[in-house]
Structures are given as C-alpha cells and as structure tokens.
C-alpha cells in the first residue's frame, strides 16, 4: 500500500511521469482527445481549436511570467505579430509549413526587442514597458494598411499541407492539437535542462542567480524569445483558424485573459497553462449556455451577457488568488494524491 511518493534516484526525481498510472491516464486522454472530432458539432470544434491555441499562448506567457518571473502585458501584441506575419506570408503564397514557424521566429525577434528593457526594469515597471509594446503593435496593426489591412482587417487562405486543405475546424483540430502537444512536450522538457533551471533561478532570486553564474540578461532575453515564439505560433494558428483578423482580435483584454489563464491554472506549471487556458476558454461558453437557457424566462439577460462575462472573469481570478493561489494545477495534484493515497495519506 502506497502512502507517499518516494524517489530513490535522481532519474526518477526528474521523470515526467511520477507513476506508471499517470502514463496510462495521459495515453487514454490522448485517445479520447482525438476522438472528439468524430462527435462534436462544428461550433464545439471551433471552441476546441480556440482552446488549443489559447493553451499554446498561455504556455508561452507562463514560460516568461510563471517560470522566469518577468511580468508581461504584451501577449496580445506578440499574438498580433504572429498572426499578421502569417497573414502577410500566406497572402504572398507561402505554405503553412513555412508561414507558421517563420511567424514564430519573427515574433521571437520582436519579443527580444521588447524584452531589452527587462535588463533594467522589474515588476510593475516591466509591466508598463511591455504595455508600451502592446500599444505600439496595436497602432501599427491599425495604420500600416499595406501589411495589416488596417482596421478593416485581412483575410487568410486556409492552410494546405501536401495538397490537403484544412478548410474547416474539424480538420484544423488535427493541425492545432499536435502542435499544441509538441509545444507542451518541449516546454516540459525545457525545465529539466540547464536553460530552464536558469529561468527558474532568475525568477526565485535574480541576484543569487547572477552570483551563481547565470548570465541574467542573456537568459531573460532567451526567455522572452522562447515565450514569444510560442505566442507567435499561437498567433499564426489563430490567423489560420479565424480566417479574418483585424486589430480587434488583439485588444489588451487578450493579454489580461492570458495572465488570468496562468494565474488560474498555476504560475510556473505546464499543466497549469493547459488547465487555465481550457478553463477560461470554456467559461464564456458555459455562461452563454446558462444565459440562453435562462433567456427564455428573462429576455433581458442577453443584454447582460457581455458585461456578465467580464464580472465572472474578475470574480474567478480574485477567488483563485485567495483560495487557490497555486491554481488548478495544484488543485489537480491534491485531488490526484487524495485518490492515489486513499485511505492512508500522510
């Protein structure tokens, strides 16, 4: 009978899966995940794809904010850079396999440029600097008509790989989810490497990290680059999924949403990014269903829906900060342990 978790080697301590059962559970989840398109309606496929994209973007932000401790309000801007790069490349006939990674790289470069102030700035001041990035990109998106199509937006052709046309959400699911899984796998492993440990050291105490020999500025920039690469890829997929993007796709609210995702999910946790992103993507859908169910008896509710969404979002974040500061990831860990160690947990 198990009553706790004991590692006897370094290898097992560093392992991704702490038990054999975790492996099975993940495998079963994957099978279930890829079975979703066979029964879900096309709208729920849209929701699933949006959730997948949000997972990648939240993972990116979590690398920067959760693991490296550099707060950023520029996520919507980086998302926009990725999306507009894809719109530009795809509009000029580039295939998906080129446009998507290039969008990630371009966004990574943009992230490094906007990350330069992090050499001098920390905390609230860095938040303001990244906020500036947001407004600069937003301005460029609405006024650089030749590339971005201005406020009217720009449309993107559907992605094609080897002649197969991913024209609807059902097929896009098989493009977005594998990229999402690959991204999570990379992130999970990143934090088992020297680079990942350096990120965490900077977050925990930047001066001691420097003393230990971590080149703080270099790793901060690297963190901005890796993080922005993720967000850029998410932006690229968003462009392919939405098919039309305009500056309205990237309001500051998106950056706040992403921060909300990693706070609710769990800062500094790969699983947290996933749970938080899925939770916050589904929240408005659940509210909408509840709202339309109630709208029959209270027709005035439809007008309240948009403000209600914001209020519930705010309330959720406050409640999580007070009662579950480590987020859904920690909640999940506790539930799991309770079942695993039942009935003799110490």
């Amino acid at each position: 009978m198990r009553c706790g978790e004991f590692h006897t080697t370094y290898a097992s301590d560093m392992g991704i899966f702490d038990t054999r059962r975790a492996r099975w559970v993940l495998g079963a989840f994957m099978v279930a995940l890829f079975a979703v398109p066979s029964f879900a309606t096309s709208y729920w496929m849209d929701v699933a794809n949006r959730a997948g994209i949000a997972v990648i973007a939240a993972m990116g932000l979590n690398i920067l904010t959760g693991f490296t401790g550099q707060i950023s309000l520029g996520n919507a801007a980086f998302l926009a850079v990725g999306a507009y790069t894809t719109a530009f490349l795809a509009g000029h006939g580039m295939p998906f396999v080129v446009a998507c990674p290039v969008s990630g790289i371009v966004t990574a470069l943009a992230g490094m440029v906007f990350g330069i102030p992090s050499l001098r700035l920390k905390g609230l001041y860095l938040a303001m600097a990244t906020l500036a990035a947001h407004f600069i990109v937003e301005f460029a998106a609405s006024h650089w008509d030749a590339v971005t199509g201005g406020v009217a937006g720009v449309s993107i052709p559907s992605p094609r790989i080897l002649g197969f046309d991913f024209s609807d959400d059902r097929s896009l699911f098989f493009l977005i989810i594998p990229i999402c899984i690959a991204g999570l796998y990379f992130a999970k492993n990143l934090f088992r490497t020297r680079v990942g440990k350096a990120f965490v050291a900077i977050r925990d105490q930047d001066i001691s990290a420097e003393v230990m020999g971590v080149d703080v500025f270099r790793y901060k920039l690297l963190s901005f680059a890796v993080s922005s690469f993720y967000v850029g890829v998410a932006g690229s997929l968003l462009a392919y999924q939405a098919r039309i993007i305009s500056p309205e796709n990237f309001p500051l609210g998106v950056a706040i949403d992403h921060l909300g995702m990693i706070i609710i999910g769990g800062l500094g946790s790969v699983l947290g990014s996933v749970l938080g992103a899925i939770f916050l993507t589904l929240l408005p859908e659940i509210l909408r269903l509840a709202n339309s169910a109630a709208a029959g008896s209270f027709p005035g509710l439809i007008q309240l829906f948009t403000p209600l969404k914001l209020a519930v979002f705010g309330l959720t974040i406050v409640l999580f900060l007070i009662f579950e500061p480590d987020g859904l990831a920690d909640l999940w860990r506790r539930i799991r342990n309770w079942f695993r160690l039942y009935p003799f947990s110490y």
Partner: protein
C-alpha cells in the same frame, strides 16, 4: 402508462413543431460603440419576427430568431457566425456592422448563407464579388454622393467652390463611403479640404474641429452614429463654427435633436426609413404592435429599419418556400426576384437582381428645423456600372 403515452405524444408534437420552424440568425450590437442605434434596430427585427409569426409566419412555418449581442467586435461576430451556421444550422443571418459583414463576406459565400445586414456599405452591392450579401436602403456611398449634390445646390457663392470636410470613425463603417466621396468631389467641382478621423468612442472632438476650422470648411459630413454626431455638433457650437453639417443614416434620427438640442438645428442628414409614427400605409402594423406589446416604449427610425429588414427577408423566405427551395441558395435566388418591392412607404421600394444588389439609389435628405425632422429633398443617384461596389 397513460402519462408516458401523453408525454410521448407531446414530444412528437414538439418535434413536429420544431420541424416546421425556420431558424434565422441575428447578430446585433446591444453593448458596443454603435449600440445607440443598434438597440432600437435589434428591437425592430425582433418585433418584426414576432409580428410575422403572429400573422401566418412563412406560409405557416414559424421563424425562430437566434440572436446574439456581439458588442461591435469582429472576432465576436465571427464566433457567433460559426456557432449559428455550425450548431444551429440557420438558413440565413440578419447582421449588423460593416466591419464584421465585410469580414465574413468570403465565408458566407463559401457556406451559401444569405447575409442581410444593417451595413449599407457599397462594397457589398456587387454580386460578382459578394453574391450572398444584401441590405435594405441606398448605399453609404450613394448617401454621401446625394448629400454632396445637395451641397452644390445649397452653395450660393457661384464664384468659389464649396469647401467640404469629412469626419469619420476609425473603422470599416466610417471609412466605407470615403473613397466614393473623394472621387465625387473631384469630378463635381467640390473642394475636399479636410478629412478628420475620430476614434470609435469619443467624448470630445474639439481638436478635430479646430483643424477643420483652420482648413476653412463650409460643409462637414459626419460618418459616425448619433451619439458621436451630437458630440461633434455640440463642440462645433461651443467653438462657434459656421460650418453646415450633414450626417449619414446611422447618425441622423429622432434622437439627434433630443441629445444635441439647439446644436442640431439646421443639420441635414440621410433618412433611409421614415420616422416612427409617420403617416404612411406601412406604419399601421408597427404602431398596432407597439400599442399592443409595449405601449410605454419610444421608438425611432432605427426601429422602423429593423422592421423593413424583416419585411424584405420574410418575403424572400416565403417565395423560397413556395418554390420548394428553403435553403441558403434558394433564399438568395428569391431575394433576387424582388422587383420594386413595396414596403408601404416605410422606406423606398427595393429591387435586387443577380447582377446588381443596389436595392435602391433614391436618397432622402432631411433637415432638423426647430427640433423637428423635415424632409427637404429626394435625389435619385445614377446606377453607374463603375459605381457598383464602390
């Protein structure tokens, strides 16, 4: 047992009733930057649908309007569209804004979903590019051309050219007729001296007005919704400008003199639909419905507009149903059979053909005189082929 049987019977009846239902999507702005005119419009559409259902429906079939508030956000409209076409399987959609309608035009064409939207953007009138887009009224571009024609007639100093300025919002709606206006000015001896862009929502237009004053504009056309128009008019009055202002069909209505007070006096504007309560044959059902269901509400021309939309597309649904083609393609084809379709004076009669989706080119110009809306002129703009889609 009896209970089960009656329950089953009820379910069967309910299912049968469902099958006799026609689902129509509604994408409205109830909370966004154009909600000042979006709310009465949405109310008009809902009431129009309710009235149709009470009066025979579509050859006996009821319409179910599945509507959503998208807050004037293009991504929200795209999500709503996907939900309506994917989950609800609506046959057509009654939409709202220019940005979202133009953004969705390729998608609706691919999905063959007739998209009748409140945007009068001329970019939606060329069926070779946007075969599934419709609206009910003259285009924004024809509105502006007609108003510029009025300016030329109003301009007394025949020595010099009239100087005109355009005010427009930084969005697809605001910008829609601007290119057409620029060209019309150039071809017709009008000096376009200034263009001022205002943000989506604004409380102050002083700096734009001072710019315009410096350029010496005699006339100004404001292409934003009523709340924005009244802000501009009040600021202009504060600054003591002598410029004569005109406004577009979403910036002009009963509410304008109420909000802008005396600053609105003398202002001209395009009215696509008559004011609520106007003595025209088609108004009776609106007034009756209003008295029966919500006698204490006040209504305006935008409410009337919502009704005219429903009257047009329900006619198309009826014709498509009679022809046995109650599909997106069938409804589009039925829309294109409407010739000089009479809306009882609520708005100008409309015509759609497979090669031209300009419903009408007749533009009514009203003026606010002592707080009242007075019709001053009707222009019929040319159906020039090079103006199709511009």
């Amino acid at each position: 047992m009896k209970l089960i049987r009656s329950a089953l019977l009820f379910l069967c009846l309910a299912a049968a009733a469902r099958a006799q239902e026609i689902k129509v999507g509604g994408i409205f702005d109830l909370t966004g930057i154009t909600s000042d005119v979006g709310k009465p419009y949405a109310q008009g559409v809902r009431d129009g649908v309710a009235w149709t259902n009470e009066n025979g429906g579509i050859n006996g079939k009821k319409i179910r309007l599945i509507d959503v508030d998208y807050g004037y956000k293009i991504p929200e409209a795209v999500a709503a569209y996907k939900r309506m076409t994917g989950d609800e399987k609506v046959i057509m959609i009654n939409g709202w804004g220019t940005g979202d309608t133009e953004g969705l035009k390729a998608q609706v064409n691919q999905d063959k979903i007739p998209y009748v939207s409140a945007s009068f953007s001329a970019h939606l009138t060329d069926p070779s590019k946007t075969p599934y887009n419709f609206f009910v009224g003259p285009s924004y571009s024809d509105d502006l051309r007609a108003w510029l024609t009025w300016v030329k007639e109003d301009w007394k100093d025949k020595q010099g050219k009239p100087k005109v300025a355009f005010f427009y919002g930084d969005n697809a709606y605001g910008k829609s007729p601007i290119e057409a206006g620029r060209r019309f000015c150039k071809d017709n001896g009008i000096d376009l001296v200034d263009e001022e862009i205002v943000p989506g929502a604004f409380q102050d237009a002083t700096s734009q007005l001072l710019n315009m004053k410096q350029k010496g504009a005699d006339y100004g056309y404001i292409n934003v919704t009523t709340t924005g128009v009244s802000t501009i008019l009040r600021d202009a009055k504060k600054l003591g400008l002598a410029t004569k202002f005109g406004s577009n069909p979403y910036g002009f209505g009963e509410s304008l003199p109420q909000i802008a007070k005396e600053a609105a006096d003398g202002v001209t504007g395009i009215m696509v639909d008559v004011p609520f309560g106007e003595n025209v044959p088609g108004m009776k059902r609106l007034v009756d419905f209003h008295k029966k269901n919500h006698p204490d509400d006040t209504h305006d021309t935008f409410y009337v507009r919502g009704w005219t939309y429903v009257l047009v597309w329900t006619e198309a649904l009826k014709r498509a149903d009679k022809a046995g083609h109650l599909t997106g393609e069938g409804v589009k084809a039925a829309m294109e059979t409407l010739r000089d379709f009479d809306l009882g004076g609520l708005t100008t009669n409309v015509t759609y053909t497979p090669t031209d989706h300009r419903p009408t080119t007749k533009v009514n110009i009203y003026q606010i005189q002592n707080g009242k809306l007075v019709k001053v002129k009707q222009y019929e703009m040319e159906r020039r082929p090079d103006w199709l889609g511009l």
